[in-house]
């Protein structure tokens, strides 16, 4: 069937992406693993082989353990809250007749196109202790002056969670809206003829039919949250208040401990890989055909 010319053509078409992927993804990744076994400064020409010593120290470093705990806390809470709201909003906007559907869709999506620095600026105004938006609203309802220090312990992690959820909801909502609108309407019609209520329809029809989509996005989201958590923490709060894994890694690099930073990078890499695999496995269901 296939002529040699055709396969050569395919190989040529795939080659650029493969080569680039190899140079910019595979090689650096291997380099990270290699460098985690060495000790060197970022700008120094010399390096010393230290074996697994970096990892030994890493597992005893309380700062690293705290920052990984923060990372896990953020991944779990942000994922659950974001997915809950994204799915609920998507279901409401696709299934219910609401005035200004498109308007809401745009409003929810806007945070996604803002850069993290802008979001940090917005939330800086929201979280401002005196005359900040959030504290003013709370004071209005409480009838007295409320001054919560959002960016101080112990509220700081909650503040980061709120900002991250706000940023992520829109994107995933639009994704689910797309897959929900692909669900044939006659399924809902026959279900309602059988007497299924709205809630029943959502759990029995909508959710199972978009499950593959949820699985894929879940994996994406977990991996991106590791990075987003770092960006948000870096832009929003003081150093040492809510450090996450990647901020620990960068701090070590700035300290001149390139190898140690890479060791942290290796652990975070393995962590995100394992987590994705576990999530992928745990969410495995029989695929339903529409």
């Amino acid at each position: 069937m296939r002529s040699p010319g055709r396969s050569r053509f395919i190989a040529l078409c795939v080659a650029p992406a493969t080569i680039l992927f190899f140079i910019f993804m595979v090689m650096p990744t291997f380099n990270v693993f290699r460098m985690s076994l060495f000790e060197r400064g970022a700008y120094s020409p010399t390096e010393t082989f230290v074996g697994l010593n970096n990892f030994k120290v890493l597992f005893k470093d309380t700062k690293f353990i705290t920052s990984m705990q923060n990372t896990i806390l953020l991944i779990v809470t942000v994922t659950i809250i974001t997915f809950f709201f994204a799915i609920v909003f998507a279901a409401i906007l696709t299934r219910e007749k609401i005035r200004g559907q498109n308007f809401f869709r745009i409003i929810f999506y806007i945070p996604n196109i803002l850069s993290v620095v802008v979001i940090a600026g917005i939330f800086s105004a929201i979280y401002k202790p005196e005359n900040g938006m959030l504290n003013s609203i709370l004071s209005l309802f409480a009838g007295r002056d409320i001054m919560i220090l959002w960016k101080d312990q112990p509220m700081v992690i909650v503040s980061v969670i709120i900002a991250m959820v706000w940023q992520a909801i829109g994107y995933y909502m639009v994704m689910y809206m797309a897959s929900m609108s692909a669900v044939p309407v006659d399924l809902y019609e026959s279900a309602s003829l059988d007497g299924a209520g709205r809630l029943n329809q959502f759990f029995e029809i909508t959710l199972p039919l978009i499950w593959t989509n949820i699985r894929t996005t879940l994996t994406f989201f977990i991996i991106s949250t590791i990075n987003m958590a770092f960006l948000f923490v870096k832009a929003m709060v003081a150093k040492g208040m809510a450090d996450v894994g990647l901020s620990f890694m960068y701090a070590q690099k700035d300290e001149g401990l390139y190898g140690y930073a890479m060791a942290a990078g290796v652990i975070i890499f393995l962590f995100s890989f394992t987590l994705s695999a576990v999530v992928n496995h745990a969410t495995k269901r029989e695929t339903l055909q529409m």
Binding site: G5, A15, P16, S44, P45, L58, P129, M236, G240, D254
Partner: protein, 465 residues
């Protein structure tokens, strides 16, 4: 036909993509006549004028508030240098200089002169110090300033080239040139003090008394922009409590230094200060909101903030209470009774791998010329050149006269130590926990215990030649 066309397109695509990875042009190392390591004897200083100018040299300078005040400041200096020596200069200035020159340096492409201070977030200069990757410029001090007859060492104010800021290894050799300095101290609203009839405290007891008085009027005694500002405050406190000898010991993490009565006094002041700090401070002590803490002074919500002279221009546009007027004072004297003000300094240095070492040294020497100083002064930058404060005006004149009014100038900082995994930086160990002291999530005892434990490791890893 179609196939050939798509083949052509595909290969063009892959080629053009790969072409992007060509990397920065490499400066051939052969251009330099000198071995890159510091301490070469071939580069003679003295009164001899340079023979053949080499170059062009690459100068990387941080675009700080001075460059903002007078845009083109560095460019003008470089042009003046070229006019004087004939050596071409390729200038890089950026607010985030580390991000601009960092990747190229990791690839082996080094600028010849870098003007970037220690104490920045990215710690680039510190990394070069720790790696002993900076060229020895002791001989620059005996070089003649290009275009003048004076030697560099004659122009620099005595004392500025013997601190750990310029001689990081404590071996009498200078590696970093002292460039712009700024007195640091406590800034306050002089108008408010006049209005209330308060006087600036000269002892810590008076400070606490004032704190209680102010508290009664709803004003907090203290705030700080971020914990990073304690890198000037805390050393000054140590100096004023124990004098220069104790200061040196503390800066070198001497054994048992944190158990002395002087150190205990400092820790007590710090923990008491934490209880007098405006409660909102830690929530705003980040890079995004630190100006809100500085605003507390302008709004008469806090009395004192540790800062440097750049604060005035940083907050120039901010709204303020009627009758507001900047005041600056030294830290109150401790038991020894000496009030002290930290002298914050920016450094210029030459990476050991700089391709044009000789020309770079000439450039550093030229930075101390009258011509260069005049250009820098337009941006409000003051160099440690004898007589430079005479030509100052306005707020700056008052600020820089702090040392004439009896305050000791504190120079130097915590000694550099080889980075050890798990140890953490001076800021992480000493200063960052101050946020937790204020919000109560850490006790002062725990803080001191952590400092002692880390100090032992820092001492063990001190960098010495």
């Amino acid at each position: 036909m179609k196939k050939t066309l798509s083949l052509l397109l595909a290969s063009a695509l892959s080629l053009s993509l790969l072409a992007g990875c060509g990397g920065a042009p490499q400066t051939p190392p052969a251009q330099s006549n000198n071995p890159p390591a510091g301490g070469s004897n071939t580069s003679q200083g003295g009164a001899s004028t340079p023979e053949t100018p080499k170059g062009p040299i690459k100068v990387a300078a941080l675009a700080s508030a001075y460059e903002e005040t007078y845009p083109g400041m560095w460019k003008e200096v470089c042009e003046a240098f070229t006019a004087e020596t004939g050596i071409e200069v390729e200038l890089i200035t950026d607010k985030a200089l580390e991000d601009v020159i960092g990747p190229a340096m990791q690839g082996g492409d080094f600028p010849d002169v870098i003007h970037l201070a220690t104490g920045r977030d990215k710690k680039l200069t510190e990394q070069f110090i720790k790696d002993k990757n900076i060229a020895d410029i002791t001989d620059v001090l005996s070089m003649t300033v290009p275009g003048e007859s004076a030697k560099v060492s004659d122009k620099i104010v005595p004392g500025f080239t013997d601190t750990s800021i310029t001689n990081p290894y404590g071996d009498g050799k200078t590696y970093l040139a002292p460039m712009f300095y700024s007195p640091c101290g406590l800034f306050y609203n002089a108008g408010l003090f006049a209005e209330k009839g308060w006087t600036v405290p000269t002892t810590w007891d008076e400070m606490w008394a004032l704190g209680d008085k102010a508290k009664a009027e709803g004003i907090d005694l203290f705030t700080y922009p971020t914990t990073g500002y304690f890198d000037t405050f805390f050393p000054t406190l140590l100096y004023s409590a124990g004098g220069p000898e104790f200061f040196d010991k503390a800066m070198n993490y001497a054994e048992g230094v944190w158990d002395t009565a002087e150190a205990k006094q400092c820790f007590d002041v710090m923990s008491k200060l934490a209880s007098y700090t405006a409660k909102v401070t830690p929530a705003q002590a980040n890079d995004q909101d630190f100006t809100q803490n500085q605003q507390l002074i302008l709004d008469n919500k806090a009395l004192f903030i540790p800062n440097g002279t750049w604060l005035v221009s940083e907050m120039a546009e901010a709204p303020r209470k009627d009758g507001f007027q900047w005041g600056m004072c030294a830290l109150p004297g401790g038991a020894s009774g000496t009030s002290a003000s930290y002298c914050w300094m920016e450094q210029a240095w030459i990476p050991a791998q700089a391709p044009n070492l000789d020309a770079a040294k000439q450039f550093v020497a030229f930075l101390y010329s009258d011509k260069a100083a005049e250009i820098f002064a337009k941006g409000g930058a003051a160099q440690p050149i004898t007589g430079i404060t005479d030509s100052m005006e306005g707020d700056n004149k008052i600020f820089y006269s702090i040392y004439d009014n009896g305050a000791s100038a504190v120079m130097g900082g915590f000694a550099a130590y080889a980075s050890v995994p798990g140890l953490g930086s001076v800021r992480e160990v000493f200063f960052d926990p101050f946020n937790s002291l204020v919000n109560g999530s850490l006790t002062a005892d725990q803080w001191v215990a952590d400092i002692k434990a880390a100090s032992d490791q820092m001492r063990a890893n001190l960098l010495t030649e």
